[in-house]
Symmetry: C2
Subunit: 197 residues, 2 copies
C-alpha cells in the first residue's frame, strides 16, 4: 500500500488545482459523478452521519430553475458549467443512523432532542463532505468552481420546499479552461494560521 501521495498527486489535488470560471466543451457523464460520490462518501463524518446531499443540475431546464438565485457576477460561470452541484445538508440525517451507525442507532435520539446540535452537526459535517467532494472530483480529473454568491433562501424554496434539506454551497463541475482562471491569491503563512503548544 502506498505510504504517501506522489508529488504529481499533491499537485493534482492541492498545489496546481485551481477554482475554475470557464469550462471546456467536454461533457461530464453521470457515471463519473457516481465515481466521485463513491470516493467522497468514504471521508469521515461525526458518528458517520453523512449529512451531505447532492443535486446535480445537468440540463438547461434544471439550471434555469437555479438562475434567479445566483448573484449577477456568477451567472455566466454557473450557466456555462457542464454540471452544477447543489451541495446541501439534511437536517433529518439522524433518520439514517440505524443504517449508518448500526452498532449504536440509539444515538439518533441525541439529535432529535437537540435541534441546534442536529443543525450544527449537519452544517459542519456536510461542509467536510463538500470538501471531500471537491478533492475527489479533482482526483478523478474534474475541475471545480465552488460558489457562495447566491440567495440561499431562494434555492431552498425552489429545490427543497419541504424544509428538510438546506443548501450549503454550489459547485460548478467540469473540465476547466485554464485560460480563464484568475492569478492565485496569497495564503496565510504557517505562523499566521497555526500555533504549536
Amino acid at each position: 500500500m502506498l505510504k504517501t501521495l506522489t508529488e504529481d498527486g499533491l499537485d493534482l489535488l492541492f498545489r496546481r488545482a485551481r477554482s475554475h470560471n470557464g469550462w471546456l466543451e467536454r461533457p461530464v457523464g453521470d457515471d463519473l459523478l457516481a465515481q466521485v460520490y463513491d470516493l467522497m462518501k468514504m471521508g469521515p463524518t461525526s458518528v458517520n452521519s453523512s449529512p451531505a446531499r447532492f443535486v446535480f443540475l445537468r440540463s438547461e431546464e434544471a439550471k434555469r430553475r437555479l438562475r434567479p438565485a445566483i448573484s449577477a457576477g456568477n451567472i455566466d460561470k454557473v450557466m456555462s458549467a457542464p454540471v452544477v452541484a447543489i451541495i446541501a445538508y439534511d437536517l433529518g440525517f439522524h433518520d439514517s443512523l440505524p443504517q449508518l451507525f448500526p452498532h449504536n442507532p440509539g444515538i439518533a435520539s441525541l439529535f432529535v432532542a437537540n435541534p441546534d446540535l442536529a443543525e450544527s452537526t449537519a452544517f459542519r459535517n456536510g461542509s467536510l463532505q463538500g470538501a471531500y467532494f471537491m478533492l475527489a472530483a479533482r482526483a478523478l480529473g474534474l475541475d471545480c468552481g465552488p460558489i457562495s454568491g447566491f440567495d440561499g433562501a431562494a434555492v431552498n424554496r425552489e429545490f427543497f420546499p419541504d424544509g428538510k434539506l438546506k443548501v450549503n454551497f454550489l459547485c460548478n463541475v467540469g473540465f476547466g479552461d485554464y485560460g480563464k482562471i484568475f492569478p492565485r491569491s496569497p495564503r496565510l503563512s504557517f505562523e499566521q494560521a497555526c500555533s504549536l503548544l
Copy 2:
C-alpha cells in the same frame, strides 16, 4: 501533469484510509505539520477567506489543558495521540482580506456589517479547511482521528479566552495502529444521497 490520481492514491486518501483510535509510538515532527499546512492552505475558500486556525498540542502539558473538555469515551484516544489539532475558525477572518483578497479588499466590509454572514462563512469555510487538513495529512502518510465529542465552550474558555476564535472540531494526528480500528460502517448509496436533474 497528472490527469487523475492512481488507484493507490485513491486508496490512500479515501478507500483504505480510516479514522484512528490508537497510535503507533512514532512521533510527528513540526516540519511534517508545516508540510500538511502548506498543502491544505491551497484548498479553495469563499473570497479566499481562509478562516481556519490550527493549534497543535504536542506536549503532555498542552494536552492536559484540553483533557477536562473531552467526553469520557474520547480521553484515551486524545491523550495518547502524538498530536492533537484544535481546528478552530477566526470570526475576525475578514481582517486578513487585504492580504488574502488584494484585488478587492473592500469586500471585508460585507462581513463587518453582517456578523451572521461572518459566522456562517467562517464555520462553512473553516470546516472545508478541516477536511483539506485531514486529506493533506493522509496524503503525507499521517493518519487522523477527528473528534466531535467534547465541550466546545470549555475548549474556547481555555484556549481562546478573547472570543475571536471558536473551536470547530478536534483531530488526533499520528501514525495509526490498524489493529485498533473499528469495522468500516456502511455509507449511503448514490441514490440515497444524490439526485440528477
